[in-house]
Each structure stands twice: as structure tokens, then as C-alpha cells.
């Protein structure tokens, strides 16, 4: 076995199983060095298959590398490292183990060369992430985790059904840019089933609600992990299998605006950020739908930068939650005074998600818009520009404003412990570093040469006008955005309320039916018993006690009858 045959994902999964047995510095060392070892292994995997196997007559490729795999593998490992650092001393061991298992499975998907391997790691991801949600150890988290796993198992079933159709028609499970483009023809039902399975994990409509329902119920550290892997592996598989699918442009745009509108209505800071995940993944899905080299590189680059700044935002929100125990904007405010570092890191994350010049979002998201402009997709381009302004509105200003500024909540919690601060500083530095010096990221993008220059006078002025005037709109319209103690109905209403009501109604009706049946059964039984009692009861003709005279008379009668029969 050579070094390029060791799956980096399995290293993380092995770390997950080793964690519960370690204490003290050994535990810390594993949490920090496990992801770094996996990251090193990611870069040992060359282009092409390094591990193959046979399964039920199918050629499996559990480990296969190319530029795209390494890009996603890299960011997943960096994320596991920073998440581990952030959660080092705060998260329960079960949460960290589950998070590493989850991260390892995501890396497994990134290096899967066939659909069966994708499916296996896909399901392991669902398992790991559900345990991360449950690790918050609250009743709400338990219920939300149950709803979450149901949706993901449904996604898994769709994916498996699609794969079966795929195998039935082509007798192969190969999953690479070339072959899958040829094989995934639009007419097969399997294609659409696989697409549906992938899109559920991306947080696409109609089931987007699973994401803002479940993620915010996890622990302060748990959501940092959750934000990174599920939706981005979905982006990865869509990139590989469905680039240039027109329908993805519109699905992506829907997600973008869905995220903005719901985040604008939301009061819970972590739910704001959850909606904003859907919004950002929408940009990537749209880029994949556009399907040109520019847009595809943009989608991949945006997934990379997004994982960093979204984790940073959630670390900032997680720190606030960890230190204050509060999540609602109506309870927060004025925290900049006592949590300056958390506030500054939150603002850097917020600027990056808004694609402010000199931050990482600026050098990635603009490639997707450029892709739309190159293709003369006017409507798409205008909508993406409006959405960029909207991101600044709902996440770029709203999150830091309501959490760290607005009214003074009176709370003065300090910044969180050192490991949490260090993780935030690391990711804040990466947000700015990639924004100032994008070349290293451009060099590892899947389609070379990248040939995109983000810092042109036009582009900087365009973005600054768009974002700053969006900021002006925020402050001018602030009275219309007063926070209220509300949630917004979403499609999860169908399974949380309608489904629950129907189930309740069914229970009542079935209970009533059961009751009626039982009553009737009892009445019949009683009647039968009565009959038996009539004949066999203490006074029944067949069981009552006779006095001695009657008995003697009957015996005499019987003996007489016997004698008569004998003589005859």
C-alpha cells in the first residue's frame, strides 16, 4: 500500500473513533493534528484512480483524485482543523467525534470515483451530522435532529433509486466529470432522482426548510461544523455531475432570494446565518447551472471562501451564544463594548460574505456574475447583482448590527476562551488574506488557466456603490426592520404542524375505532359467557349440584336401562 492509497477521509474517521479514549494533551493533539495529516494526504493523491475494487460486478473507485477533489478535500480538512480548535475545550467529546466522522465522510465524497462510494459516504455524513445536532443535548435539538435525519434519509433514498436506474441503463457507476456528462442524459428518470438527492442536501427548494430548522438547534460549536460540509459536498457533486444544467440557474436564484427574504424576517441570529447558507449556496448552484469555465471556477472558489467566512460568522455567533446563552436579536445588542474581538471577527466575516473588496468573497462571487455577463444572461446578471446587495443587507449589516450594536442590552460578557479566539483570528486572517492575495486559491481551482482579475477599477467601484448604498438603505429603512419575537412559516410547517395534526387526528380516530371494536367484542364475549354460564354456571342445568335422592334416582334409572338393554 502506498501513501496515495490512504484515504484522507478515513484518517478523520479513525480520529473520530480514537477521540473518546484520549484525555488531556493527547486528545488536543489528535484534534489538531488529525485534520492536518488528512490535509497532507489530500495533496499526496495524484490525478486518476489510486484504489479500485469490485462489488457485485461493478467497478468501484473508492479513491480518485483530480483538481476539484483536492480543492474540496483541502477546504474540508482546513475546516475540520479550525472547527476542532474552536471546539477544543468547549464541545462534548461525542460532538467532536461526530464532527470528525462527518468531516471525514465529506472528504470521502470528494475523493469518490463512483456513485456507490458517494452514496456510502453521503449516508455516513447524514449520520455524523445528526449526532452533532443531538449533541446539544436539549429536547429541541433532539426533535430537530429527528426531523433533519428524516429529510436526509429521504434524500438518500432518492439518490439510491437514481443510482439503481443509472446502473440498470449503463451498467457503470463511474462518477467523474467526463463519463458522467456522457452518461447522465436528461431523459432518464435516474438522472432526475440523483439530481433531487443532491439538491436536498444543497438546501434547494422545496425542502430548504430543513437547514434553518435543524442547524441553529445545535450547540454553539456544533453549527460551525454543520455549516461547512453537507451543503458544500452537494455543491461538489452537482459541479461534477450537473454542470451546465439550465434548471440549476433558476433553482440557484430562487435559493438566493429565499435566503435573503427569510433572513430579513428572522430574529434568531443563528437562524439568520442558516438562511444565509441557503442564499450563498444559491450563488454556487447558479454558477454550476451557467456552466462556463468562468462560472464553474467561480462556484468552486465560492464554496472554498464561503466555508471560511460562514464558519467565521458562526464562530462569532457561537461565541456570543456560548458567553451569553442568548440567540435572539431582541435579547442582544451593544456587545461590541465587551467582546471587541468577537465583534471585529464577526464584521470581517460579514464583509467577506458581502463580497467587500479586499475580502475573500470579492474574489470568488464576482466570477459567477462574470460568467453570467460573458454569456449575456442579462436577467440572471441583474438578479445576481441585486442579490449581492441583498447579502450585505441580510447578513453583512444585519447580523453585526443587531448582535453587537443597536440598543444596549446591558450585557457585558468578555470575549470567549483563547482557543475560540484563536480559531476566529485564523479564519478572519484567511478571509482577508485570500481577498488581498487570491492567487494561491486561483492556482488550485479546477479549470486552468483562471484568467480572472478581480481588482479592476470598474469592478471595485461597482461593488462599493452596490454595497454602500445597500448599507444606506438598511439604515434609512431600519424602522421597518424592527425585530419581533416571531418565526416565519416555511415548508417545514407541512411536517411540523399539518403532519403532526393529521397524525393526531389519525390517532384520535383510530383510538375511537379501536374503542368501538373493543366495546363490540366485549359485548359479544359477555353474551357468549352468559350462555355458557346459563348452562354450566352453578345453577345451570348442566352444572348445578343435585341432592342425593335425585342422584340415586338417576343412577337407578341408568342401571335399570342397562339391565333392560342387557336382556334385550
Amino acid at each position: 500500500m502506498t501513501i496515495d492509497q490512504i484515504s484522507p477521509g478515513l484518517i478523520l474517521i479513525a480520529s473520530a473513533f480514537a477521540l473518546p479514549f484520549l484525555r488531556g494533551w493527547l486528545r488536543a493533539a489528535l484534534i489538531l493534528l488529525g485534520p492536518l495529516l488528512a490535509l497532507w494526504l489530500v495533496w499526496q493523491i495524484p490525478d486518476g484512480a489510486t484504489l479500485t475494487a469490485k462489488f457485485m460486478g461493478l467497478d468501484l473507485v473508492p479513491l480518485k483524485g483530480d483538481r476539484l477533489s483536492r480543492l474540496f478535500g483541502t477546504i474540508f480538512c482546513i475546516m475540520a482543523f479550525a472547527g476542532g480548535l474552536f471546539a477544543l475545550r468547549q464541545a462534548r467529546t461525542i460532538e467532536l467525534s461526530a464532527a470528525f466522522f462527518y468531516a471525514g465522510s465529506a472528504v470521502g465524497v470528494a475523493f469518490a470515483g463512483d456513485l456507490i462510494t458517494v452514496f456510502v459516504f453521503w449516508e455516513l455524513m447524514a449520520l455524523g451530522s445528526t449526532v452533532v445536532i443531538w449533541s446539544a443535548d436539549t429536547e429541541k435539538a433532539r426533535r430537530a435532529g429527528m426531523r433533519y435525519v428524516m429529510i436526509h434519509l429521504l434524500g438518500g433514498v432518492l439518490l439510491m433509486a437514481g443510482i439503481i436506474d443509472f446502473v440498470a441503463s449503463k451498467n457503470t457507476v463511474a462518477f467523474g466529470i467526463g463519463p458522467i456528462q456522457e452518461v447522465l442524459t436528461i431523459n432518464r428518470p435516474g438522472t432526475w432522482l440523483i439530481l433531487a438527492g443532491f439538491l436536498i442536501n444543497a438546501g434547494a427548494p422545496p425542502l430548504s426548510a430543513w437547514l434553518p430548522d435543524a442547524y441553529p438547534e445545535s450547540s454553539p460549536t456544533g453549527m460551525v461544523f454543520l455549516s461547512a460540509f453537507t451543503t458544500k459536498t452537494a455543491v461538489y457533486v452537482l459541479w461534477r455531475g450537473f454542470q451546465g444544467f439550465d434548471v440549476l440557474i433558476w433553482i440557484g436564484l430562487f435559493m438566493v432570494f429565499y435566503g435573503i427574504i427569510y433572513a430579513l424576517l428572522e430574529n434568531d441570529m443563528r437562524r439568520i446565518l442558516a438562511y444565509s447558507i441557503v442564499n450563498q449556496v444559491g450563488f454556487m448552484v447558479c454558477g454550476i447551472g451557467i456552466g462556463t469555465d468562468m462560472a464553474l471556477n467561480g462556484a468552486a472558489a465560492h464554496a472554498f471562501t464561503h466555508i471560511i467566512y460562514k464558519a467565521l460568522l458562526l464562530m462569532s455567533a457561537g461565541s456570543v451564544l456560548y458567553m451569553t446563552g442568548k440567540r435572539k436579536c431582541t435579547d442582544l445588542g451593544g456587545l461590541f463594548q465587551s467582546m471587541p474581538l468577537t465583534c471585529i471577527c464577526g464584521i470581517i466575516g460579514a464583509l467577506a460574505i458581502s463580497s467587500f473588496p479586499l475580502t475573500s468573497g470579492f474574489i470568488s462571487k464576482s466570477m459567477i456574475s462574470q460568467g453570467a455577463a460573458d454569456q449575456h444572461l442579462a436577467l440572471v446578471w441583474f438578479l445576481l447583482a441585486a442579490a449581492s446587495a441583498g447579502v450585505f443587507l441580510h447578513a453583512g449589516i444585519k447580523f453585526p448590527w443587531f448582535v453587537f450594536f443597536q440598543k444596549d442590552s446591558g450585557m457585558r460578557p468578555p470575549d470567549p476562551p483563547w482557543n475560540m479566539r484563536l480559531a476566529m483570528i485564523l479564519f478572519a486572517a484567511l478571509c482577508i488574506g485570500l481577498g488581498v492575495w487570491p492567487q494561491p486559491l486561483y492556482e488550485i481551482l479546477p479549470l486552468q488557466p483562471v484568467g480572472y482579475k478581480p481588482y479592476t477599477g470598474y469592478h471595485v467601484v461597482e461593488m462599493l456603490q452596490l454595497l454602500l448604498f445597500s448599507g444606506l438603505a438598511f439604515f434609512v429603512l431600519l424602522p421597518f426592520m424592527k425585530r419581533t419575537l416571531t418565526i416565519s412559516l416555511d415548508v417545514d410547517w407541512f411536517w411540523r404542524r399539518l403532519g403532526a395534526r393529521l397524525a393526531g387526528e389519525f390517532t384520535t380516530l383510530s383510538n375511537r375505532a379501536c374503542g368501538l371494536t373493543a366495546d363490540r367484542l366485549q359485548a359479544r364475549l359477555e353474551k357468549a359467557l352468559e350462555t355458557v354460564f346459563h348452562f354450566h354456571g352453578p345453577k345451570g342445568i348442566l352444572a348445578r349440584t343435585w341432592d342425593t335422592g335425585t342422584t340415586t334416582l338417576v343412577i337407578v334409572g341408568l342401571l335399570a336401562a342397562y339391565l333392560v338393554i342387557y336382556f334385550v
Binding site: D268, Q337, A389, L393, Y458, F469, L472, T486, I487
Partner: protein
């Protein structure tokens, strides 16, 4: 606490009314600057209007206002008390 809030000198310097007024002036200046800067850069103008120096300022403001009011309107239908699912 109430006394503290009434006295501007007791407030953090960033939230004193005077600072906030100054910040508004600075913000207005920066906004004007970005629009003026539009005159000095060559805008490619892929489609209609987007080649104008003021376009992104107007577009950013208008679309954001539309989104805020759109969200507000939807809120009338979608908003529920946050203990809606708790029973």
C-alpha cells in the same frame, strides 16, 4: 443604569450621539465619493443602464428597499409567534 444612559459622556464613545452624527457625515461623504469615482473608471456596460456611473448606487438602494418591503409584506402572512411550534 438609566442615569448612565442619559449622560452622553458616560456612553461608549462610539455610541454617543455626536459620534453617530459624525459617522453619518463620513458615510455620506464616502457614498458621494463612490458615485463620483464612477465617472473616472471605464464601466464595460454589459447590458442597458449598467454603464452609467450612478447605476450601481441607484440599483443597490432600490433593490434593497424592494427586498425590505417585499419581506415586510410577506411577513404579514408568514410571521408567527416564536413559540408557535412549542406545544
Amino acid at each position: 443604569m438609566a442615569g448612565k444612559k442619559d449622560d452622553p459622556t458616560e456612553l461608549h464613545w462610539l455610541v454617543r450621539p455626536q459620534t453617530i452624527r459624525r459617522l453619518w457625515f463620513v458615510f455620506a461623504g464616502v457614498l458621494a465619493l463612490t458615485v463620483v469615482a464612477g465617472l473616472f473608471v471605464k464601466l464595460p456596460g454589459h447590458f442597458v443602464w449598467d454603464g452609467e456611473f450612478w447605476f450601481f448606487a441607484a440599483y443597490g438602494f432600490a433593490t434593497c428597499a424592494a427586498m425590505v418591503f417585499g419581506a415586510k409584506a410577506l411577513g404579514f402572512i408568514l410571521k408567527r409567534p416564536d413559540d408557535y411550534y412549542d406545544d
